[in-house]
Symmetry: D2
Subunit: 304 residues, 4 copies
């Protein structure tokens, strides 16, 4: 657990509905999982929340009333999420690199989904500069290790099903992360169609996204788009060589590469972006947001 090794955070309680009562070893100390109803919120300065779909809004309000900040890992509070008409001011979307100023002053942050983290950090510099051809389709395929689906006990996650196989899912462009990505793309000023097809990989963890976009003009130095946009960012690595899952596993980084397509008439970029879905795609990103909210060094407790 990241919180346990963090030099400036101390875990005061951990909730888990189904495992409540079970013991948890945290450093030298022992804790017990408790029900959310039993949490002494007034002891907490900041709460990491990962409730099931639809349950976040009420719990976040309870945390806020008790004076705790919240990093919410559910989809409820994200752009395009279930909860419309939430407390003003609006809840910032915790892609820290894009929203650092908003995260800094926030009481609640909506932590992004794993696929959107890999894809939006790759797309943002193109979108914010208006480089993508108007009306062209942004084509994204991505592949995730099995932990992207959580540790749920589903037949299609058995070893005998996953090993030596590879398949696409949500092939009708209707993955639950689509609205989240579309909302951010629209915020960044683009009206392009986004087509996103995820795949299930026979690996434990890691996401690789491959993005094909047409540009208005062919860039002379495609990597410069990202090296300039992300100069000084501790958790973004821009590289000429194509990233692989192995490069980012157990690290709170996104690694991005891009190449101009040959053999085509319209200027086209092929961008690859890799993250560890459990780190930069979930818990690592949450700690990064917590660090910013608490005014700590943003890299504290995070393996880069």
């Amino acid at each position: 657990m990241l919180a346990e090794r963090h030099p400036a955070l101390k875990l005061v309680f951990a909730t888990a509905h189904e495992q409540r009562g079970q013991e948890l070893q945290v450093g030298g100390r022992k804790l017990k999982f408790i029900a959310t109803d039993d949490a002494r919120l007034e002891d907490a300065e900041l709460v990491f929340s990962a409730l099931p779909h639809g349950a976040s809004a009420q719990w976040v309000a309870r945390c806020r009333a008790a004076g705790a900040m919240v990093v919410d890992l559910s989809a409820d509070l994200r752009p395009g999420g279930a909860e419309v008409g939430l407390p003003t001011p609006p809840i910032p979307y915790g892609l820290t690199e894009l929203m650092r100023a908003e995260v800094k002053g926030a009481g609640v942050v909506a932590n992004p989904g794993c696929y959107p983290t890999a894809i939006l950090l790759a797309l943002a510099p193109l979108l914010s500069r208006g480089l993508i051809e108007a009306d062209s389709t942004i084509s994204v395929t991505a592949a995730s290790g099995v932990t992207g689906a959580g540790y749920t006990l589903r037949p299609e996650l058995l070893f005998a099903e996953v090993a030596e196989d590879f398949r696409a899912y949500a092939v009708d462009n209707n993955h639950r992360h689509l609205d989240e990505m579309t909302a951010v793309i629209r915020d960044l000023g683009a009206e392009n169609d986004l087509v996103f097809t995820p795949h299930l990989l026979p690996v434990a963890r890691g996401i690789l996204a491959t993005i094909i976009v047409r540009l208005c003009d062919a860039p002379r130095d495609p990597l410069a788009i990202w090296t300039e946009a992300y100069a000084g960012e501790p958790f973004i690595e821009v590289r000429p060589e194509t990233p692989s899952i192995r490069d980012v596993v157990r690290r709170n980084v996104v690694r991005i590469s891009a190449a101009v397509a040959e053999n085509v008439r319209h200027p086209t970029l092929i961008i690859t972006s890799a993250i560890d879905n459990l780190m930069k795609g979930a818990a690592g990103q949450a700690v990064q947001n917590a660090n910013v909210m608490l005014g700590l060094d943003e890299t504290l407790g995070l393996p880069a």
Copy 2:
């Protein structure tokens, strides 16, 4: 070996430069690998040829002079291949389902590459009916098991490198199969850009291609495009559910599915296509072509 189990084929020689002299068990008989120079071509009615890049033209001419038909598995004789100005009549491209008439009368057939087989059989019905939006980009990502690279001893094919990893390669749209695919797409009358990005999967065998195309109009029943085009084909399976590698491994089939993308303004199809790269993507396809060339039942000796 497929030829060995084929009820109407009998192996008369097998060549292998580096393993020549080694024994080979074929059914009850023993054969020795020989050098191509030692092959008694006059004993053969048909030769399966898989020579290294650039070596096919001369060898094929030798086979033809000795009266043998040839299924050539190299890239040399394919559309867009190394060998320009070959013997007239032109050598048919052995995507049997698209070229059956030409294969039937041919003395030489150029067996397709593995990626093109999965991708072109999926694209052909759209292209031949002119359904794809003019000037739009055909975006293809595909993932292959390690045997797609042959059994060569390269560091990036070691278990310690491949397991728990996933990466793209040839990311500049310059894979050696690109010209082959572009040539066939042009033959089918389309001028669209083709962007193709292959990936290496931690599985032994199998290819899954995911294709995103814009159409002129949204089809009411997308699957009907393929079920009509391929009615009666013994080795093409069109299914509503997304194919996975497991569905096609050890079988000489391509399995194709397609769905209309939701959440977009331009009519868009997402097509998935799976083959076993060693069967329909190589040896199985070669036997299928041989069956047609020899006037045999096309399905003879092939696991469907």
Copy 3:
């Protein structure tokens, strides 16, 4: 399904409590899974039975009363099994190679477990000739792919748990197959301790057993023990090179090798034995027994 491809068997019904009502494609025909209570036993000449622990005796009696022969794949009727005091004559243990005569005339056969198949076929020639040192321990470790545990939905069979891992289980010498093996070893006249430790492999299928035994005398030609005992057996392969799972997967064979240990003072053999747990370790073995019971060619419908 093996029965479906068998040239002399025709499936007349298939029972499955939880999937009853679901359709089943068998060759060109369609069947529906039915409850055991609805099975028209009088239509069947032979029944393959794989009921949960404890349920076999009653069902087998019902089948017999209706005139059907039974190959029972449960542990109930095996030596050391749950059902004591079953109908006379005693039910033969269907390790076909050791019990062919008894299987031939039987109305019911108890199909062996997967581990016992690999281990007992390797041990039998040593035991029946009295070669093992009296009072020495027979040390067996074995490793099985995940399908050895059935397709049950258990957390420890998830890809995220099994991949990149390896563990022993039943480490107190109390695996449910132990009594079955001990009973056969006693039948073959040996009183040695048997210590058996199974392991879970990150592969889909296959079992490899590694057996360490002390012998009374060092054999000059260890392999001859098995080649002589199993001369002419179609499903037993004795080889100088160590077998691996890959050698036997999808085939109804056991592959056995043995070597005399160097660097020891007591004559010692190290024997390795590999099977496909779903073929020779379960369904293949069952069909082999059915072939013998029905007076058919023993190899019919079985991939060797």
Copy 4:
């Protein structure tokens, strides 16, 4: 690299014959791999040496002459190794937990092999207390991930060979680690036969050893043998539950469990022992020895 993250070690040079000239990123600094002949040994306080078989003795002498201590990771200087008649005093065998006093004052330490580390730390408490039945065989099977064989480019280490497979090797009890283990067992006073059969696992890293031994008497509390012998050891974990590779990967620990065999007449223990072959089985153990030799805290720079 462990040395790079070690708070009290600073890398002054790195040698690599084949990669010499290549750059190496160490923390913020850049180093180049150099040939051993170009190493400025007078700059080094301690040298980690991992030369090919047979090359260590001369190099170690050169290091010593220049005043550097050496942790040697080759097999040459280990008990039973190639180099007999080395400089007096004898070189201690760096199983730190068993040889701490000898390692402390040593100028050279022979770092143990990976299999011996897992097996000898499990056997030592039994051997030193004389608990194993005289004249009985110590039966050991072990399985290792592919990195146990080094990153060498051998066909049997290709993904297409290793995945979905499992095999034994050195099945004649002649593995190159056997002499090393036998020598230590003899040093601990036992004359028992040791039979050791290693296996290749389809995982990247990790070793699990399963050991079957007969004891003079059945222990009441088998785990107490190890908890007492290793009380206070920071890198030895004794647990009632069977260890798996996942428990120890990326950590410098050995995890040991043991159970009394049921269903046997002779008191018998089944012991399981797991390490990460690259950590406690190689580099981690080397740093642990270096810490002791340099008078540092033994746990410095090591993930437990």
